[in-house]
């Protein structure tokens, strides 16, 4: 059945059941992915899926429900479940069904060219990527992941206050991981690229990057346990920022899960630190013209010269703080309830080259990779202790690769201990949001090794 018709039936049935304001959120997506192993297509996957979510206010309490089995018979169940859910809600801060913003920015997130690329072309690219990686060096013993995927998504919000918004986007993604061996020493590395268009891919570039990186770890060993100054490479830094990005959510601040409470207008980072959330970034995977509540997106500065300027808000958190929503209402999918999340959030790059930053270190570590971010970082306290890899730097030069170490610190302290910011902004693999950082030189990091 057509969505326009279905949503009318849902609203009608919901009204009869006592719901006042209601919303129907619809998402559909399709994807293609393939994986190659030793020249053969090892994995090939296609999908087409979607679901609808219902959200409605019953005596000012918001009830949620969703279904992936979309047909007329689902309507009754959707409303019944949402009603049950609304009846147990106790939080009095009401969620708002939004009538719409004055103005929405135009965004162009869909590449028609990408949709027309043939499957053969995609398969050829991924085979070429694997071949290139094997041919780079004879110490490459295994390309254990060589993946291409593309994804197309459309979301729609309709509500009883007259809002009717939709947006379509697509992205293309490639990931490769390589295992190298010299004698009994085995090392691995990975690399990825995300674009809006297929033509931007360059197999040679990606293959060289992953193999160079894996080879650079051969002979890695732990370093002496002590306090170091580190150069946290861009992607590792973006991963760390992504882990702690939740501290900027007004929802977390209001619920006592972020230490940024009452910190607006105060210095929370070094004077060179600027953090921006830009939903209109051209290559931003999380770019959008409206958020999950239908509020128009806007570009905001969270931190300027180290001073906390604002938090990320949805309609409910904004009402509680007496401010306007910043357009960061977020639902993971039609299966989620309303929270707050960044769009494309990044630390603004500085002017320093990577090489200059290394030359400026007497003794220190370059940290290229962090592991265990889901477990070794406490997003409430800011404490982290993470397995890491990288290189040892002495007298401004890289001496040897390093592994089997951990770096430990506190994220709130890290923000203040940033000494130099690089020019090399890069983004981490996207999750709920798309988070980026340049390489950062940070003092006072506890390193455990030997």
């Amino acid at each position: 059945m057509h969505m326009d018709k279905l949503k009318e039936l849902i609203f009608e049935y919901g009204k009869n059941e006592g719901f006042t304001d209601m919303e129907v959120y619809y998402e559909s997506s399709s994807s293609f992915s393939c994986k190659v192993f030793k020249g053969e297509i090892d994995d090939y996957s296609i999908s087409k899926e979607g679901g609808i979510a219902f959200r409605g206010a019953l005596n000012n309490r918001m009830g949620y429900s969703y279904t992936e089995k979309v047909d007329e018979s689902a309507i009754k169940v959707l409303i019944k479940i949402a009603k049950e859910n609304a009846q147990i809600i106790e939080n009095e801060e009401e969620e708002i069904i939004f009538k719409g913003s004055q103005k929405y920015e135009d965004t162009d997130l869909y590449s028609g060219g990408l949709a027309e690329i043939s499957t053969d072309k995609k398969l050829n690219f991924i085979k070429e990527l694997e071949k290139e990686a094997y041919s780079m060096d004879k110490r490459v013993i295994n390309i254990n992941n060589c993946i291409y995927s593309d994804h197309e998504n459309e979301r729609r919000i309709y509500n009883t206050k007259g809002l009717n918004k939709n947006e379509k986007s697509n992205v293309v993604f490639s990931y490769i991981s390589a295992v190298v061996q010299e004698n009994s020493d085995i090392q691995s590395a990975d690399a990825f690229k995300i674009y809006r268009d297929f033509k931007d891919f360059n197999a040679g570039f990606l293959a060289k990057r992953v193999v160079d990186k894996a080879l650079s770890y051969l002979g890695a060993k732990p370093v002496e346990s002590k306090i170091y100054t580190i150069l946290l490479e861009n992607i590792a830094s973006a991963n760390l920022l992504e882990t702690f990005a939740g501290i900027f959510s007004a929802d977390n601040v209001q619920k006592g899960r972020s230490l940024l409470k009452n910190k607006l207008g105060e210095a929370i980072g070094s004077i060179s630190l600027n953090i921006i959330d830009d939903p209109f970034m051209v290559d931003g995977v999380a770019s959008r013209s409206f958020d999950s509540e239908g509020v128009a997106s806007e570009r905001i500065s969270l931190v300027e010269e180290g001073i906390l300027q604002c938090l990320l808000h949805n309609l409910r958190t904004a009402k509680k703080d007496g401010v306007e929503s910043t357009g960061h209402g977020y639902k993971a999918s039609y299966k989620g309830t309303m929270t707050v999340a960044p769009s494309n959030l990044y630390i603004q790059p500085g002017l320093n080259t990577y090489e200059d930053m290394i030359s400026s270190m007497n003794e220190g570590l370059v940290i290229t990779e962090l592991q265990g971010l889901h477990s070794g970082a406490n997003t409430v306290s800011g404490d982290f202790s993470l397995a890491a890899r990288g290189y040892y730097v002495k007298d401004g030069k890289i001496e040897n690769p390093v592994n089997q170490i951990t770096i430990a610190g506190n994220f709130y302290e890290v923000l203040k201990n940033i000494e130099i910011i690089g020019e090399d902004l890069m983004f981490a693999m996207p999750n709920a949001a798309y988070i980026g950082s340049p390489s950062l030189k940070i003092k006072n990091i506890a390193v455990a090794g030997e």
Binding site: Y44, S47, A86, Q371, S375, N378, S385, Q404, A448
Partner: protein
Amino acid sequence: MLDQRLIEDIIMVALSTGGDFAEIFVEDKYNTEITMIGGKVENSISGRDFGIGIRIFKGFNSVYAYTNQHNRDALIDTAIKAGDAIRGTKQDVVLNFIKYNYKNINPIEYLPNKISKNKKVDIIREAYEAADNYSDSISQVIVRYLDYNQNILVANSEGRFAEDERVRTRIAIQSIASRNNEMQTGSCSPGAHMGFEFYDKIDVKQYGKEASRIAVTMLDAKPCPSGRFPVIIDNKFGGVIFHEACGHGLEATSVAKKSSVFADKMGKQVATNIVTFIDDGTIPNAWGSSNIDDEGEPTKKNILIEDGILKGYMIDKLNAGRMGMDVTGSARRQSYKFAPTSRMTNTYIATGKSTPKEIICNTEFGIYAKYMGGGSVNTATGDFNFAVMEGYLVKDGKMGKPVRGATLIGNGPDILYKIDMIGNNLEYGQGMCGSVSGSVPTNVGQPMIRVSEITVGGRSEEK
């Protein structure tokens, strides 16, 4: 769940381009999630996941397609598109489904959807109040309640036709303790392959108190020292070390392509001879159990390492072909959106001979990890890391002060040779394990163990 005639037609269409095996997976799942924050039900969402996955093999090539459109035309169209990826000549296939019968090892007393939401809220509140009342230092408590009822059907071109119902119930309590401008957390998240009867079997108040006790203890803890020391890891979720250090490396997913450090080690010694490591999907009503796996094979008790010798891997159908070995009932997937592959179910170190007291008394200096957080592993190198949620110093054979912020890192094959004591107090903990076929519920378990030396990453230079 889906008409048998339609299933037959889908499989025939899927094989029409020369595939030599086709499988259909149908999933119909009801989820409920309720969150209480600060004593108030903050949100409650429930819904239905429904979808169909079609898998085709030709040799070792595999094609997977999924959709949640459920009408005949859309499904046949999906099968055609999947078949397009296979280029061969059609083989003669005769389909003869035999319904696979088994004894239900995971009986359910109260299906979650038969229980009112108010009753669920009562349980949440009980846990909340126990956690909140534990101490004045507790500044926030978040309780997440989850239940689901997943019905699956697997049918394949070899005639397998099997159904299973998985009902899982879990409550996750997170307490935050605050003092000045500092916060620490503690959490407990018990779960089982059970319905609402789970709450007759456990006392959620105990778990609430325990979560708060951890948070308050950590508020008083000093930063953990860094360096290489003996580490004692207690039972239950402590087993996450083996899950990461060697469990993932024993999954066919990485063994078949020889990208695991445990490939080609069958029958060889891989650990000290006191180590026996088992994956058992048949433990009645355990969090990681199911009657059949997601390829329709019965789950099994698989001995992976016995007295230090590598005895087996966890193997799914596709990799069984690659490895020339039998399947082990280990194929799992998060949902119809994932092709299944070999995964852990309930994985544990078998019980040993030492008492916990003996282990601590015999340790001159080290770290005692009472509760572990999660971790991860690079299966290619065997390097793993995991976080200690609640830790203590051990000095002169006695438990010392609590320490915070410790991460343990090491190398899987290496650490297996450093296990020098195993306790007699085997218990399990529940987790969600994320890998290629998505996030699946897994039990980890062990008795208390001691590792003679492991790198501890903390923030203090003092010992």
